[in-house]
């Protein structure tokens, strides 16, 4: 029987969660920002550890002072992708905060932090030392670009592997 894994995409608004899912599932990208309200669920089958699994990707609305994420969206998650925008350093703090809330809600499920928009190197705000210190705490961190596709497949493969091995 094909395993089904619920993966929640979490992060601040406009960090590129929807773009990452669209890039991964449909291989398309648009630089037009269209905010997500609620949640949109997409699926993609993957091969992980020699087995076929179905990733059910919950693209959840970004959180800010206007909108909070409903806990019901996160319940039952087998893994989380925490997305930050590398050109807005405050979004990494939001990703880390959401990680803590997720842990309390669903336990220590596999999580990968994605530093998205890696193509925008001139506007990059995240400090390498800070990233290194987060990695030294055992956090999985990858750089992605939904625009170029760089690191996107690797990111979803990483979370799939994590959930499969959990």
């Amino acid at each position: 029987m094909t395993a089904r894994y619920k993966v929640c995409m979490l992060g601040a608004f406009a960090v590129g969660k929807t773009s990452l899912v669209r890039r991964y599932v449909h291989s398309i990208f648009s630089d037009k920002y269209l905010t997500t309200v609620g949640v949109k669920v997409e699926k993609r089958d993957v091969t992980v550890g020699g087995d076929t699994a179905s990733l059910v990707l919950w693209d959840i609305q970004g959180e800010d002072d206007l909108v909070s994420i409903r806990e019901s969206y996160i319940r039952g998650a087998h893994g989380v992708l925490l997305v930050a925008d590398g050109t807005r350093k405050e979004t990494l703090d939001k990703a880390l905060e959401l990680h803590e809330r997720t842990r309390k809600l669903v336990g220590p499920v596999p999580a990968v932090i994605l530093l998205n928009k890696s193509d925008l190197t001139a506007e990059w705000e995240l400090d390498d030392d800070h990233i290194a210190s987060l990695e030294s705490e055992g956090r999985a961190i990858l750089r992605t670009s939904a625009q170029t596709g760089a690191g996107v497949g690797e990111a979803f493969d990483a979370i799939a592997r994590g959930m499969h091995e959990a």
């Binding site: 619920k6 608004f13 406009a14 920002y33 269209l34 905010t35 997500t36 309200v37 609620g38 949640v39 949109k40 669920v41 699926k43 059910v56 919950w58 800010d64 206007l66 909108v67 409903r70 019901s72 969206y73 319940r75 039952g76 807005r88 001139a122």
Partner: protein, 506 residues
């Protein structure tokens, strides 16, 4: 006026483009005697291919010719053709008659007919519902009212199955294709992943008994089979009699309005944040400029103050004037550098030469830059080692004055960071398709922490006091615009090696 296959210029450009694009435009000039003067375009599409100059226009278009459109003209929309299509006929009066423009309107007419049919069907449906309501002997229940509002309502049965309550809304057909069991037994087959998750929660809510009377899922988006994304929300209700209902709603205009508002708020926030960052950069720049200009100015003021001292002999006075002049020139250089950086985006788009007979000669530019800095290098007691390995004329893509400025910036860097008595090596290498300029010094080199961002604006300012940190940014912007690249690497055993690679002019 003559007929032909191009649209007569009597019609506006916009109209001409529209017609020519896809509407199978045809036209006809009809004289005051009702005879065709000229006709052209896709006459066949409008089934008037037999129209010839001199023919009676009424034979071709009996419904149009003879009508009085006055001085301003008019239109007969959606005239049905014999073959089933539709044409719009626009009439433009002229002195000797009128132009008739025919445009295909079959698709629009089809849509209009579809809309009329749907409006008719809706009216019938409303009348039917009205009759049903009148015929109903009992007052409608809450769930029936909700169903009548366009929501799908299900009643949870003791065996865990769901039964549809009331009339199913039209959109449910689309959702059913996505969630085959919905409307029958949502737990008997695969649902949409979202509803599946929500029903787990809803069952816990119904089983719980106390507390709130409803549990809302929050909005979710489904992509329907036709590719349209539609927002839904589900609500689990616990009624007063203890029975359970599941309500699924297609969210309408209010959802769209909320999303638009949120979108606007967030876009504004992003713009605001970007603006703040831009202001920060400008403030930093302002600080750097003021700081950089202040140093030489202080020296100039000090020199002038000393000059007021009448005890100075001629040589002392001359020395002070020269010192002041040097500082003034330094300040002038800084101002030029700042202006260059801020115009570099524009400058990068300015003309540069890429043809061999007009392009700057690489060795000549390098020599010119070296000569500019030679006195300063000698003042510091530095040895200059110049090596040109191009063997003959080597034109390179770029403009001579800006290339000299780029190379001058690298030399200026080497001058600042070289220890007294050190050697500054300048060389030009032929790499086949490209030429490589290299400037090396024996200074301390660039700290590793700064290497990645070395060519960014203000970075050099962190490395050296009294500099805005704009020179390397200018080098990068300019060289990149010419299709070249610029880089840095540490020099062994110590020092810096800056290089510029530019394509050869052809």
């Amino acid at each position: 006026m003559s007929a032909g296959d191009t649209l007569p210029t009597i019609f506006s450009d916009r109209l001409a483009r529209q017609a020519a694009a896809e509407l199978h435009a045809a036209w006809m000039l009809v004289g005051k005697d009702g005879r065709i003067v000229n006709a052209g375009g896709d006459l066949e599409h409008h089934e008037i291919e037999d129209a010839r100059p001199g023919d009676d226009a009424a034979d071709a278009l009996p419904l149009v010719v003879g009508l009085d459109f006055g001085a301003t003209g008019g239109e007969l929309p959606s005239m049905k053709r014999g073959g089933g299509g539709f044409s719009d006929v626009k009439v433009f009066p002229v002195t000797d008659g009128a132009w008739l423009l025919l445009l295909d309107s079959s698709e629009r007419s089809k849509q209009l007919r579809g809309m009329q049919q749907r409006a008719h069907d809706l009216e019938l449906e409303m009348r039917r519902r009205g009759r049903d309501a009148q015929e109903a002997t009992a007052a409608p229940t809450l769930t029936q009212v909700v169903a009548d509002l366009g929501a799908a309502v299900y009643s949870l049965q003791p065996d865990g199955r769901f039964e549809t309550v009331g009339q199913a809304p039209v959109w449910l057909d689309d959702l059913r294709r996505r969630a085959p069991a919905l409307g029958v037994t949502p737990d008997a087959a695969e649902l949409t992943p979202f509803l599946e998750g929500f029903l787990d929660e809803a069952r816990e809510f119904w089983a719980d008994g106390g507390g709130a009377d409803r549990l809302r899922s929050g909005p979710w988006i489904e992509t329907l089979p036709d590719g349209v994304e539609a927002p839904f929300e589900a609500t689990a209700l616990r009624l007063d009699d203890g029975s359970a209902r599941l309500v699924v709603q297609l969210l309408g205009a209010s959802f769209e309005q909320n999303r638009d508002l949120l979108q606007a708020a967030r876009s504004t926030r992003l713009q605001f944040d970007a603006l703040l960052k831009e202001i920060d950069k400008k403030e930093l720049l302002l600080y750097a400029i003021v700081h950089d200009l202040n140093g030489p100015l202080s020296s100039i003021v000090a020199s002038l103050s000393l000059l007021k001292d009448s005890q100075l002999d001629r040589d002392q006075a001359k020395d002070l004037i020269e010192r002041g002049a040097r500082q003034a020139n330094k300040q002038l250089d800084m101002i030029k550098q700042i202006l260059e950086v801020f115009s570099s985006d524009i400058a990068s788009m300015e003309a540069f030469e890429s043809e061999a007979d007009k392009a700057p000669e690489a060795a000549a530019c390098l020599r010119a830059a070296v000569e500019t800095y030679r006195p300063a290098l000698q003042d510091r007691g530095l040895v200059l080692d110049l090596s040109i390995e191009t063997g003959g004329t080597a034109p390179v893509v770029g403009s001579p004055d800006r290339l000299e400025r780029v190379l001058g910036n690298l030399l200026s860097n080497a001058l600042r960071h070289s220890p007294a008595g050190g050697t500054v090596s300048v060389s030009l290498h032929d790499e086949g398709e490209t030429l490589r300029f290299v400037v090396e010094d024996e200074g301390p080199g660039v700290p590793p922490a700064l290497v990645d961002d070395l060519f960014d604006r203000f970075i050099q300012g962190r490395r050296s006091k009294g500099l805005a940190g704009l020179g390397l940014d200018f080098c990068r912007t300019t060289v990149k615009a010419w299709g070249g690249e610029v880089g840095y690497e540490p020099r062994e055993p110590s020092g810096s090696r800056f290089w510029v690679r530019l394509p050869k002019a052809r």
